[in-house]
Amino acid sequence: MSVNLIFKIAAVGILVTVISQVLKHSGREEHAFLTSLAGLIIVLFWIVPYIYELFETMQNLFAL
């Protein structure tokens, strides 16, 4: 659950960096920005359920 998530995020980060470099050199600045935004949103989709689950268990555990 946790470890491959970290590697997935790192992979998305590196991929987005490479793609944006390629797009920048081929003259499409806005596409580069869009791909980095898309990568960010994908990663957020992966992380947000974990954050929610974490705070949920915190509330149950500590009766907050």
Partner: protein
């Protein structure tokens, strides 16, 4: 045994975050946050066992269980606030981290008001 896994997870996370920091700073923050969340999950299992022990303790000692619940709530508030504050400070936004910290202190104060109230009453009854 567990601590070795946690340490390895942390170091791997830091190495990945550092390598990502130059080109893409936001991914470094995301990787750091993910590592924090994973370690926090492991931490919660330990905290669960401690809380069970605390509950056993309350049966033995004739202390009103309400106070123990308040203490546990305060510990919970501190944990969550510490987690959020450190992530904000790592990302370089100390101001937001401090706001969270101040909010946590105030909420702990609010939680402890009834205890102080009872304490003052008992003191008053002695005098």
């Amino acid at each position: 045994m567990d601590i070795v896994r946690i340490a390895a997870l942390g170091i791997v996370g830091v190495l990945i975050a550092v390598s990502l920091k130059k080109e893409r700073a936001e991914y470094a923050v995301l990787v750091a946050m993910t590592v924090c969340i994973c370690i926090f999950f492991y931490l919660l299992t330990k905290v669960g066992t401690v809380l069970l022990f605390v509950e056993e303790l309350t049966e033995m000692i004739p202390v009103d269980s309400r106070y123990i619940g308040l203490i546990v709530k305060m510990v919970g508030i501190t944990y969550v606030a510490e987690f959020a504050t450190d992530i904000c400070k790592d990302a370089g936004y100390g101001a937001i981290g401090n706001q969270i910290e101040i909010f946590a202190k105030l909420s702990i104060l609010v939680v402890s008001i009834p205890v102080i109230h009872v304490f003052l009453e008992t003191m008053g009854s002695f005098l």
